[in-house]
């Protein structure tokens, strides 16, 4: 399902215009993003938990250059599906 389909369906279900729904979704994802940026997990019931983890710098083999490379640290976003969604798609 694409983003536009979701917006269409939401505007039908909630009785709001698509522009309004877009605005609300945009600001809510922005807040989720900011909370993740502060290293705080976000739990949405029925879906699961989002967390941001820090990956330390590490040594890794690069097959193209045939050499070991030092990879810089980076943050990744992990999603843990909730128990209800896990059971639904077993």
């Amino acid at each position: 399902m694409t983003n536009s389909e979701i917006i269409k369906n939401l505007s039908l279900h909630l009785g709001k215009s698509q522009v309004e729904i877009k605005r609300l979704l945009k600001s809510s994802t922005k807040i989720i993003r900011d909370t993740l940026d502060e290293d705080i997990g976000v739990t949405i019931p029925g879906l699961g938990t989002f967390r941001s983890n820090l990956k330390k710098k590490r040594k890794s083999f690069n097959p193209y250059h045939n050499k070991f490379m030092l990879l810089p640290p980076k943050r990744i976003i992990r999603f843990h599906p909730g128990s209800s969604i896990k059971n639904e798609f077993k």
Binding site: M1, L14, R23, S28, I32, R33, I40
Partner: protein, 332 residues
């Protein structure tokens, strides 16, 4: 790290930011969750703008063990929900580290490649070089029959020589005139290696192109190896304009090789490398990728004289590009 924001707190925050009622935001979020479940059921994927993409992934069945009893269990396959964050989100989260880049650590090479000798120092026949690079363990097995063959070649004529040597004194004692015969016999072992060389030679000749034939198939017929077709192309530059196109009835000269492919002599290698460079020149305007491939193969033969000979027709930028490519061609 273990901190979590509760759903009600999240709803409060969003409501504050947007100015909408808490109930609306609550409904909005629960409804999106419903829709993502629906989408996952229907299509197997859902794109949420600004956040990322959810996808159902099938995890295969595998065998495991009960950690308490050590019993073998067959774990059935299942699908799980996989999430990948959007590029924008990843960039935003990583903006602190965006200036960092991965660096090459010098002096640490993979242990696999260390035993293989450098290319430029020793130029052994290309076949052995290849074998050493690809699977290092197997080359002694390949070298063993070669050594046996070499030993056989060295020692084969010797018993005949020794027989004649034994006969010589016997003959010389009886008749003095027979001494003239041994020098004739001693010449024979000298001529024998020449005969063996002719055996290895791949005979060339004339050939008329039949329907359905390509340079590759002709090379397969004559040399037992299709890769060497540039050697044929080299001799027929005035007949074949395009190496991809052969006309039926074309008279082609097939050059002979001094030795078998797989154990080529230096002269053969130079000839074949010349052929590859000619193919490079033919493809240079039409298909740059193909052209670079043939130039790369030609360089791999380690024939600098031939490349110097053609230096005014080979682009310098192409040579530099080809130098950067590592690995070996599949041609022996």
């Amino acid at each position: 790290m273990n901190k979590k924001i509760t759903f009600s707190n999240l709803v409060d925050k969003i409501a504050e930011e947007t100015g909408a009622s808490k109930k609306l935001i609550h409904d909005l979020l629960t409804e999106t969750v419903h829709l993502t479940r629906e989408g996952l059921n229907r299509d197997g994927y859902v794109n949420l703008g600004g956040l990322g993409r959810f996808r159902l992934k099938w995890k295969k069945a595998r065998s495991g063990r009960n950690p308490q009893t050590g019993e073998k269990i067959e774990i059935p396959g299942r699908s799980s929900v996989n999430f990948k964050a959007e590029a924008n989100l990843r960039e935003y989260i990583n903006r602190k580290y965006s200036h960092l880049q991965s660096e090459i650590i010098e002096g640490e090479i993979e242990p696999k490649n260390t035993p293989s000798p450098p290319v430029s120092k020793t130029p052994p026949p290309p076949e052995i070089q290849e074998e050493e690079k690809k699977r290092f363990v197997w080359w002694p097995w390949l070298a063993l029959p070669l050594i046996i063959i070499i030993l056989a070649i060295i020692f084969w004529p010797s018993p005949k020589v020794s027989e004649t040597e034994i006969k010589e004194p016997v003959i010389s004692e009886k008749v003095e005139q027979d001494i003239q015969i041994p020098p004739e016999e001693t010449e024979q072992p000298e001529t024998k290696p020449v005969i063996e060389e002719i055996k290895y030679e791949m005979p060339g000749g004339q050939h008329t192109v039949k329907p359905g034939e390509k340079l590759w198939t002709i090379s397969l017929d004559f040399y037992n190896q299709g890769d060497l077709w540039p050697n044929i192309y080299r001799m027929n530059l005035n007949v074949i304009r395009n190496p991809d196109l052969l006309l039926i009835g074309n008279e082609i000269i097939i050059p002979s090789l001094q030795s078998k492919p797989g154990n080529l002599t230096q002269k053969d290698i130079e000839d074949i490398a010349e052929g590859f460079i000619e193919v490079y020149l033919a493809y240079k305007k039409s298909d740059k990728r193909k052209a670079l491939y043939y130039l790369w193969v030609a360089k791999k033969w380690n024939v600098n004289e031939i490349i110097d000979k053609y230096s005014d027709r080979i682009d310098e930028t192409d040579l530099k590009l080809v130098d950067k490519i590592k690995g070996y061609p599949n041609i022996k």
